[in-house]
């Protein structure tokens, strides 16, 4: 594990598109959970207004649907980025089909979940991007997001003339009717909430124990990586610093 006196290098792990994806996910999921539960169990705000003059519940539903489409676009974008992005964003992080992946999952389970001693202190056990267990949990959540999107779209398919929701109409007979589709949609919401609790806790846990900027990485994009793991010569640094990267700033100072 990390200790304070080691040298660390700042590594750009989460590119801007990944970070934007992440926070759009956070925002839209939060809005969908809140509006979803309002739809599920609307509070009794019985005013003296005539129904004609009030539309608040219709608005809540509208917010749910608009946010749903934002979430869908966001998910589609992330799938594209799983092929176009950097090595930490690539799809193969998320499915532990290699020996390395499975070994890493066992390591994380042992050391981070069951809090056993890390006797070997192998640097390669510490992930630079996602650890394989976390990444796998995102993969599972993505599948549930798809199910949530599919059930949601199936529910509006009949009231929509757009082809996208219509494409999902088959979900309704598949599960055996609107009632059960809506129920699945409702139950999945609780699942998302459980995931968020665990996910946010584990991010904070890693930040606390490893102290290398796990949580802030999703804002800045950088994580701190032990310098032994970064192959960088003195010349590299000098070249980069003088040539391209500081161009703008150097111009100003001149």
């Amino acid at each position: 594990m990390a200790t304070a006196t080691y040298n660390y290098k700042r590594v750009y792990v989460w590119e801007k598109p990944v970070r934007i994806f992440h926070w759009v996910t956070v925002l839209s999921t939060t809005i969908l959970i809140i509006t979803g539960f309002i739809i599920a169990d609307p509070p009794a705000i019985n005013s003296n207004l005539e129904a004609t003059n009030s539309y608040w519940f219709g608005k809540v539903r509208a917010v749910h649907f608009v946010t749903a489409y934002i979430l869908i676009a966001n998910l589609i974008f992330r799938i594209y980025w799983a092929f176009a992005g950097n090595r930490f964003a690539k799809w193969d992080n998320f499915i532990p089909y290699t020996k390395k992946g499975i070994k890493n999952i066992l390591y994380v389970l042992k050391v981070d979940i069951f809090l056993m001693k890390d006797k070997e202190h192998k640097l390669s056990d510490i992930s630079i991007g996602h650890n394989y267990l976390a990444a796998f949990s995102y993969f599972i959540m993505t599948l549930f997001f798809f199910l949530q999107v599919a059930t949601g779209l199936a529910l509006i398919a009949d009231n929509s003339s757009w082809f996208l929701p219509k494409m999902f109409h088959f979900i309704v007979p598949l599960f055996g009717g609107d009632t059960i589709v809506r129920y699945i949609h409702h139950i999945l919401t609780w699942l998302f909430m459980a995931f968020i609790v665990v996910h946010v806790y584990l991010v904070l846990y890693h930040d606390y124990v490893e102290a290398r900027g796990e949580a802030s990485a999703m804002l800045s994009g950088f994580k701190f990586i032990r310098s032994e793991r970064v192959d960088e010569t003195e010349e590299d640094i000098i070249e980069k610093t003088t040539d391209q990267m500081w161009e703008g700033e150097n111009d100003e100072s001149k």
């Binding site: 129904a51 539309y55 519940f57 809090l115 088959f170 809506r182």
Partner: protein
């Protein structure tokens, strides 16, 4: 009821014979066309078809059922609607409504099936029990499965009236002691038109038969086999209380002021938002009312498995397999609560299990802090 001599009559001829006028006939055609969701320009076509088309033989089987669908059917709003089906469209066999009984009735059926082989419409009311070789429903000593297979063999198409023959119905409610199944679980090689509802609205039943009689084709069906013109909309989408729903104005108990004012019944468990039926625009008993209009939430009687989705006056159904009173929300709260508790316990455990490491990090960090160059 078996009037073989009238076999060659057209609908129109038989109507005139019954003493109706041309005017009655045209009124009926206009009225049914509207119910079938046809454009007014189609009325002529319907009239023409009924004037020239031969009667359509119908055989109506009754299995595990309460006969409520027949009850609804004979309350058809327009006198001609009932007549045209009951007497004119040659309902050649329906054991509850026909005059003949016993051997005579069965013989009549056999005869009609033979004569009209490949040309008759089979109407099925009621589910079919399959457990223990189907002994839980027998008619004239034969099981429902046997009878259904026999009468389906020569049918042009099958119309299932009611949620029992369409989905399984009340007798299929968990744990389904008699192994009741809907028609399409047994008959796979015939077009099946599902007309669910407990019971279906009378005009919907007439409308479906009439559609077939007029056009000789099956009406357009949705993915679940229901005619779109009657089941294309949710009750919720044609409910006159919908403005209250969108305004967030709900009745929370049956004896409240809000209930009296006619607020939306969503929070009283209304299944309108997930139920496909024509109640909202056709209504019941000659368009007098429908459950929601009478102040009671829709129970989703035309939906598959509505019988197991209780309690009817709660927004969320119980989760099957978790016993009574266990809604998804209760289980969800436990799961999320467990996640929070798990995280808290893990956080404490982390500070204990990793205390040496955390301490060392702290010490080394402190050294660095002391060595900061000013």
């Amino acid at each position: 009821m078996i009037k073989t001599n009238k076999k060659e009559e057209t609908y129109y001829e038989s109507i005139l014979r019954k003493g109706y006028t041309r005017r009655d006939f045209m009124k009926f055609v206009t009225y049914m066309s509207a119910f079938m969701g046809l454009q007014s320009s189609m009325i002529g076509q319907v009239a023409k078809a009924l004037e020239t088309k031969k009667r359509l033989p119908v055989i109506w089987e009754h299995f595990q059922e309460c006969t409520g669908c027949s009850e609804s059917f004979i309350r058809s709003d327009h006198p001609l609607a009932a007549d045209i089906i009951l007497e004119t469209v040659s309902l050649d066999y329906t054991d509850t409504l026909m005059a003949a009984s016993g051997h005579n009735a069965e013989e009549a059926k056999q005869k009609s099936m033979k004569e009209n082989y490949g040309n008759y419409i089979l109407v099925v009311e009621g589910a079919i029990p399959t457990k223990d070789d189907g002994v839980y429903c027998t008619i004239a000593g034969r099981t429902a499965i046997e009878i259904l297979k026999e009468s389906a063999a020569g049918a042009l198409a099958i119309i299932t009236f009611g949620s029992c023959s369409a989905w399984g119905g009340i007798q299929a409610a968990s744990p389904n002691p008699t192994g009741s199944v809907p028609v399409d679980a047994i008959i796979k090689d015939k077009p099946i038109i599902k007309v669910p509802g407990c019971p279906p609205i009378s005009e919907v039943m007439t409308g479906v038969i009439l559609h077939y009689a007029t056009f000789g084709t099956i009406p357009e069906l949705d993915a679940e086999g229901r005619p779109k013109q009657f089941y294309g909309k949710r009750v919720h989408d044609s409910c006159y209380r919908r403005p209250y729903f969108d305004a967030g104005l709900y009745a929370e108990s049956f004896d409240s002021d809000e209930a009296k004012k006619g607020y939306c019944l969503y929070k009283l468990g209304c299944r309108g938002p997930v139920t496909y039926n024509a109640c909202g625009f056709m209504e019941w008993n000659n368009g007098v009312s429908f459950p929601i209009k009478s102040g009671y939430p829709c129970i989703g009687c035309s939906s598959n498995e509505f019988w197991d989705n209780g309690p009817f006056t709660e927004r969320l159904e119980n989760v099957p397999g978790f016993g009574i009173e266990n809604t998804a929300d209760k289980i969800g709260k436990i799961v999320v609560g467990a996640a929070v508790a798990g995280a808290a316990v893990h956080a404490v455990a982390t500070n204990v299990a990793k205390r040496k490491e955390l301490k060392r990090n702290e010490c080394l960090g402190e050294v660095n802090e002391k060595n900061i160059k000013e």
